[in-house]
């Protein structure tokens, strides 16, 4: 036999309705393959004798005192055994409805499943639900074991009935089971050896069914997907860390990070304590890479090649199982986790609730605990994802409430466009017109560089006051300067936009693009918008940097936090907006009913609650003179 560590390993889960014999089957499998530690069988025998009960195989798995007392397996346990030159890790998933979350924990990490049905009781609620969940969780290899054949006199007819009923159900899901096996787990019939009591069964035993399962292939040939886990700067290297979930990547490849939409070239694949630095990495590996140039990348971005990008969206369809203690309702807000991305999400609609017993569906306004439903989710910011059909790993999500995972689901984009097209892609037949007047020429005439001073801060922090005062001060000093604010943008350029989260994002996007053009024209632009979301400000920065990279550089973006505490802003309340927001007359008011994400690393912070206007202006002018004046 090959040494254990080089033998292949397969993770399997055993599911089915409560009391249909899962733990017994596991005990039997371990014993019949000679995988029990010495003395364990005898210890359980002795324990059963002490308690005056017949030998119970399930005690092997049910190692916990509490379980023995209740006689129910509570949680997923894992036990290994070996058969046919392969190691199996078996996960005994409980059948009690109460413990569905544990069944999901077990099944989600499995490559194949054994699904048990009691021959006497037949197909029950959990038999169907577990079949459906295996499908949702992505377990595609399923062998169905019809257990307790001893209770039905090893009757071929009864076996046929159960098979007929359940096969029909699985076919409705699109699952073709690898086989159906009639067994008696307690007595070992058709488990490790063919049963002499069921000579009519021509198919495989359980062990043969297991040996027919195939390990899952690593998706090395699918498009590259590496969700960014973290960016490390422990030493001189700036390493982008993550696990490659699909595809492969090589040193020299040009890659894009979505949804920040920055590109870079792989300079190195980093590894510690390896004989030589890798030149390539592929699906399944946890890696670190460095890029040719420093671009802004953060956790939650997905690295891909440029010719096969993930979807960018803030709305998608999810087919989910709901584990929360309460019912899930329309408009509910939860935390969404999707690969390494995390964001707030809202249930925009509940399309239908699926009845797992007959696969029928009905319209509903809420989702009961342990039910399966199709919903539409809207997230706060854009995230990069794939349809589950395209990539199962970047195409599935988990919802969290009060710190606890309460749902898992798979993604479809049916009826929703990829917003990458809408937001970032410029028509391919437009070639950037090379300007006849160089940036250096503009700078040479005005004496300063173009750029954007992006003011961000709460309503009432003093953005507009400072923007207009700074504009006047700089103009007097001879700068080409212009303020963009709600007053001159909302009336025309953005007249078609309201105040929904989408419209606000689009408002800021347009301001960012216009600011970038003004800056390219050589001006200093002061933009004065609350712009509460980091993602929106990052996009504005990107708009400037994109133009800068087209020309000779020299354009710059400066994030300036005009800062005062919420209490101070609310006290000032120059437009009476806080009062209205508190009274519930304004929905989604930043700082009251909608979040403000302060800059993480602002280029400048101006504390209007600690300094008077003149002191603030002094700091701002000094900053401009330091960063914009052309060095002759």
């Amino acid at each position: 036999m090959a040494p254990r560590s080089s033998r292949p390993q397969l993770k399997i889960v055993i599911v089915g309705h409560v009391d249909h014999g899962k733990s017994t089957l596991v005990g039997r499998l371990i014993h019949d393959t000679g995988s029990l530690p010495d003395g364990k069988f005898e210890a359980i025998e002795a324990m059963c004798r002490r308690r005056g009960m017949p030998f119970e195989w399930a005690f092997l798995m049910d190692a916990l005192q509490a379980e023995r007392d209740q006689g129910v397996t509570i949680d997923t346990t894992q036990i290994r055994f070996t058969s046919g030159g392969r190691d199996y890790v078996i996960i005994d998933a409980p059948g009690h409805k109460e413990f569905l979350k544990n069944m999901i924990t077990g099944a989600a990490m499995s490559e194949a499943a054994l699904l048990l049905i009691d021959a006497d009781e037949g197909v029950r609620e959990q038999s169907r639900r577990h079949g459906y969940l295996l499908h949702l969780l992505g377990v595609r290899q399923v062998a169905v074991l019809v257990n307790k054949m001893d209770l039905v006199g090893f009757d071929a007819g009864r076996f046929g009935e159960v098979v007929e009923t359940y096969r029909g159900y699985l076919e409705g899901l699109g699952i073709a089971p690898t086989c159906f096996v009639p067994i008696s787990a307690r007595d070992g019939d058709n488990v490790a050896t063919a049963s002499r009591r069921m000579p009519w069964h021509q198919g495989p035993t359980v062990l043969e069914a297991l040996d027919a399962f195939r390990p899952l292939d690593r998706p090395v040939d699918r498009p590259l997907r590496m969700p960014v886990q973290d960016v490390y700067k422990f030493d001189a290297r700036r390493i982008i860390a993550g696990r490659i979930e699909a595809g492969r990547v090589r040193v020299g490849d040009e890659v894009m990070f979505s949804p920040s939409n920055r590109t870079g070239r792989i300079r190195s694949i980093e590894a510690w304590s390896v004989p030589e630095a890798p030149r390539e990495a592929h699906a399944g590996q946890s890696v670190g890479i460095t890029l040719d140039e420093q671009i802004f990348v953060e956790r939650g971005d997905v690295m891909s090649h440029l010719d096969d990008l993930p979807v960018e969206t803030n709305v998608f369809r999810g087919r989910l199982f709901w584990l929360g203690r309460r019912t899930l309702g329309l408009g509910d807000r939860l935390r969404l986790k999707l690969h390494t991305a995390e964001t707030d999400a809202q249930i925009q609609s509940i399309e239908r609730v699926i009845d797992t017993s007959d696969l029928g569906s009905r319209e509903a306004s809420e989702v009961e605990r342990n039910a399966v439903a199709e919903v539409v989710l809207r997230t706060r910011g854009l995230i990069a994802l794939d349809e589950h059909e395209q990539d199962p790993i970047t195409g599935r999500f988990v919802l969290v409430e009060d710190h606890i995972p309460v749902a898992g689901g798979i993604i479809s984009m049916e009826g929703y466009p990829d917003q990458r097209e809408l937001i970032t892609q410029r028509s391919t037949n437009i070639t950037a017109v090379g300007h006849g007047v160089s940036r250096a020429a503009r700078t040479g005439r005005s004496g300063h560089k173009g750029g954007v001073l992006w003011f961000t801060g709460l309503s009432g922090a003093g953005k507009s006051t400072l923007a207009l005062a700074l504009e006047a001060r700089l103009f007097a000093k001879g700068y080409e300067v212009y303020v963009l604010d709600g007053d001159n943008v909302r009336g025309g350029l953005n007249a078609n936009l309201g105040f929904s989260p989408e419209d606000r994002a689009e408002n800021i996007r347009r301001v960012g693009e216009v600011a970038a053009l003004f800056a390219d024209a050589g001006m200093i632009v002061i933009s004065s918008f609350i712009s509460p979301y980091r993602a929106d400000r990052e996009r504005a920065r990107h708009a400037v940097e994109r133009l800068a990279s087209n020309g000779e550089g020299g354009l710059s973006f400066h994030e300036i936090h005009i800062k005062a505490s919420l209490a101070v802003c609310e006290q000032r309340d120059p437009k009476g907006l806080y009062q209205k927001a508190r009274a519930g007359k304004i929905a989604e008011f930043t700082g009251i009913s909608s979040p403000y994400e302060p800059p993480e690393v602002p280029d400048l912070v101006v504390r209007t609650d600690l300094m008077d206007v003149e002191e603030c202006l002094h700091d701002l002018v000094a900053y401009v003179e330091q960063h914009f004046v052309h060095q002759r």
Binding site: S6, L36, L64, I74, Q78, S286, L306, L323, I404, P405
Partner: protein, 278 residues
């Protein structure tokens, strides 16, 4: 902009079983580091926690970017203390050594060895209170013992660091529980899916340093290292890594059989774990 294809595509290096285990553990360690404030790793000086430190250096490219804590009963073997001092220096660890209260302060209803082992739990709980760690990385494995088999990779601990094994959060699709209500913390278990022989194979492949007590001397060796007075060596002639691996391929004696506390009562170990033992 087009991706530049390499001229020759090298033959794909398949990942073997150890590579797969390593990649999963590295992912878990990075998740813990990215999501948890105030993280530390437990170092018992044994083979498993040495592998955890090694994997940490793999995950963070040679660095161990959080404190390494040894909860010291004061009753370890001399070889273990020498090992600790040597490698703490060589690996540049931020080592925290935390003491344990005397046995007299432990629950007198526990059997003797479990009572002795409970000191470590008490020491650990004191250290947690002292440093306020939100996350604690521990090198336990599912195949060691029945209750550990039920663990999660990210296992939340409630008030008093207690483990509520009957109501654990679901854990699937590599989405771990990484945020918590105040007053709770999480145990992170990057080796949960490893087996004992995996640990040895990996130790051999990576050439990870090891305390000599694991190798047979005079016909006995330690399979698991605890306190001197409650750990016994098992009969063995295995004096090299190869021989240890060969022995494990064929043995059917449980790994913790030399740990007295596991055998005193059916639920002794479970009671220790519910109170916060690793």
């Amino acid at each position: 902009m087009r991706r530049i294809l390499c001229v020759a595509i090298p033959e794909r290096q398949p990942m073997d079983h150890l590579d797969t285990l390593e990649a999963e553990s590295v992912y878990i360690l990075r998740e813990a580091f990215a999501k948890l404030d105030n993280l530390a790793v437990l170092w018992s000086l044994g083979k498993d926690s040495n592998v955890v430190l090694w994997l940490t250096r793999k995950a963070f490219f040679g660095h161990v970017p959080f404190p390494v804590m040894h909860v010291d009963t004061g009753k370890k073997f001399k070889e273990m203390y020498d090992f600790r001092e040597h490698y703490a220096r060589e690996w540049g660890l931020n080592l925290l050594v935390e003491p344990c209260p005397p046995v007299e302060e432990m629950d007198p209803t526990l059997p003797p060895a479990a009572r002795s082992a409970a000191r470590k739990t008490a020491g650990l709980n004191l250290a947690l209170a002292k440093h306020g760690f939100q996350g604690l990385i521990a090198g336990i494995r599912r195949d060691e013992e029945g209750t550990r088999a039920k663990e999660r990779y990210f296992s939340p601990r409630g008030e008093g660091n207690r483990w509520n094994l009957k109501d654990q959060p679901p854990e699937f699709w590599n989405q771990y529980m990484t945020s918590f209500p105040p007053g709770t913390h999480v145990r992170v278990h990057p080796l949960l899916h490893w087996s004992e022989v995996d640990i040895w194979r990996y130790t051999q492949r990576e050439n990870i340093p090891l305390i000599d007590l694991y190798f047979a001397r005079d016909g006995r060796r330690y399979r698991s290292l605890g306190d001197q007075d409650i750990t016994s060596p098992v009969p063995s002639t295995a004096s090299t890594l190869d021989e240890i691996i060969l022995e494990l391929e064929t043995t059917r004696v449980a790994e913790r059989s030399g740990r007295a506390m596991d055998h005193e009562a059916e639920d002794a170990f479970e009671r220790l774990r519910a109170d916060g033992y690793m």
